[in-house]
Symmetry: C2
Subunit: 256 residues, 2 copies
DNA sequence: CGATATCTTGAGGAATCTCAATACTAGTGG
DNA sequence: CCACTAGTATTGAGATTCCTCAAGATATCG
């Protein structure tokens, strides 16, 4: 739960884009999909690819927001801290996800790599100029903000009104759905984040997370071959634990 | 906590705009401020003013999102329900606030008037055409979405990691700050919403809300002349209960 | 002024948290 | 190759906060 701040440089190992946007695997899922090949070159011209080691900080809450990012590989977590160290993770960002909303002069949260991650880094000023130039990009960003807002509202419902068991089942299902959307297999989940991360995302302690995962395992709904892997054995049961119906998750998966 | 759905027509008492946008009291605080007088006429042409009685529903989660709104008077609450009736209020919308984000084909939450409220109603399709036509308006909407997103993240921190006492003190301070931003006196707060609404916003029961309000009163930080009015007697004490410093609230008040 | 809603207060219970011990995993060096 | 260490996860026991259920007080409205 405490910050345990890795004293990382905010943006380590910057290097010029090796492989171009045209060959980008997550292009279709990212804001970049709003641009034509020609327009994309303009974006590429202001892009730096950065690699982050696990637990390195991308930026700190309160820092001047000089850059915006797109995650291309790995997972990034985003959190806010209270003065005494209590932490709330407000989101996990997967390949294709845009990182840097809300658009303010200073970051309103800290972003940290969960595992080894790669990001496309855009200077904010120049990115905003491109927004003026390419209305399609701005529209796409508004859509992205809409998606994040809807996800935030779902998370408020979870944090304010769901039981621990429901929160954990909901979390696993949402990971599964996001994997599906990225075209990955949906029943074998990799959990790159620690129990502590999961707890801080769901508003629970690590012990409660662990206990309820064990319960899910004992019920037969999932299997836990190791701490970082979850196999969904019986999705209907998991939906039941989450207090959801299949339509609920399909709705979320579609994004509206 | 249960829906207790008032079987109201979704949009009662529509009537053509009586007084124009030019004379609108909340214009400067709303998305409309992005438009010139001339442009504003275009918006006005697609606007209908609607009046809502207390507890009437503006729209339901799942409904086709035909309209977007701007609150011009009163307060509107927005919530999501679980299958068994548990409710999470994700926001209160005050005069000047834009209602209808995130932009989807169907509303992702229900909106309901807390007290007598007036709204400007825009047909969504036509409003989106104006977004294309007036990039300034779209930019302003992105800014609005950013503000909502940042507020949502603050609320996740509150719901996931703050104690009941901190939640309630934080809530009162945020009401106070919003009143300040609307140019109202900041120490005498009108609470148009019920204890049940407050509980469902803060992830608590009405009893817990009541008990902790009483505690705040006994501590001398606030006075409660009646259930719908709060006087902040000692702001530093209230900040202490909220676990915040003055900078925290100023930052929120400024919006970044 | 009575009827109904809402709010407050009280007592007991339940879910989650805290603190502590044990188990597991991965990496290190002998 | 195997102990050793450090970090992480699991399991257990007890404490605490908040919730549930119930009664009483207050406010609202016809």
């Amino acid at each position: 739960m405490p910050p345990k701040g890795p004293l990382a440089s905010a943006v380590p190992h910057p290097m010029k884009l090796a492989t171009g946007c045209a060959a980008c695997a997550v292009r279709d899922m990212s804001v970049c999909s709003a641009l034509s090949a020609q327009e994309l070159e303009r974006l590429e011209a202001i892009t730096t690819r950065v690699e982050m080691e696990p637990q390195f900080t991308v930026f700190y809450e309160g820092d001047a927001a000089k850059y915006l990012f797109n995650v291309t590989s790995g997972v990034v977590k985003v959190y806010k801290l209270l003065a005494d160290g209590r932490r709330q993770i407000t989101g996990f960002f997967f390949p294709g996800d845009f990182l840097g909303l809300a658009l303010y002069d200073h970051y309103t949260y800290t972003a940290e790599a969960v595992d080894k991650a790669t990001l496309c880094r855009f200077p904010r000023r120049q990115f905003e100029h491109l927004l003026d130039e390419f209305p399609k990009l701005e529209k796409r960003l508004l859509q992205t903000a809409s998606n994040e807002l809807a996800a935030a509202q779902d998370q408020m419902l979870l944090l304010g009104r769901k039981t621990a068991q429901e929160r954990i089942a909901t979390f696993l299902l949402s990971l599964s759905d996001r994997a599906t959307r990225r075209g990955q297999r949906t029943n074998v989940l990799k959990l790159p984040m620690s129990r502590s991360d999961i707890g801080d995302y769901l508003g629970l302690t690590i012990e409660t997370v662990s206990r309820h995962l064990t319960r899910l395992k004992k019920s037969g709904a999932v299997d836990l071959p190791n701490a970082q892997e979850i196999r969904i054995l019986h999705r209907p049961a998991l939906l039941e634990f989450a207090g959801l119906s299949e339509e609920d998750t399909l709705a979320t998966a579609a994004g509206f």
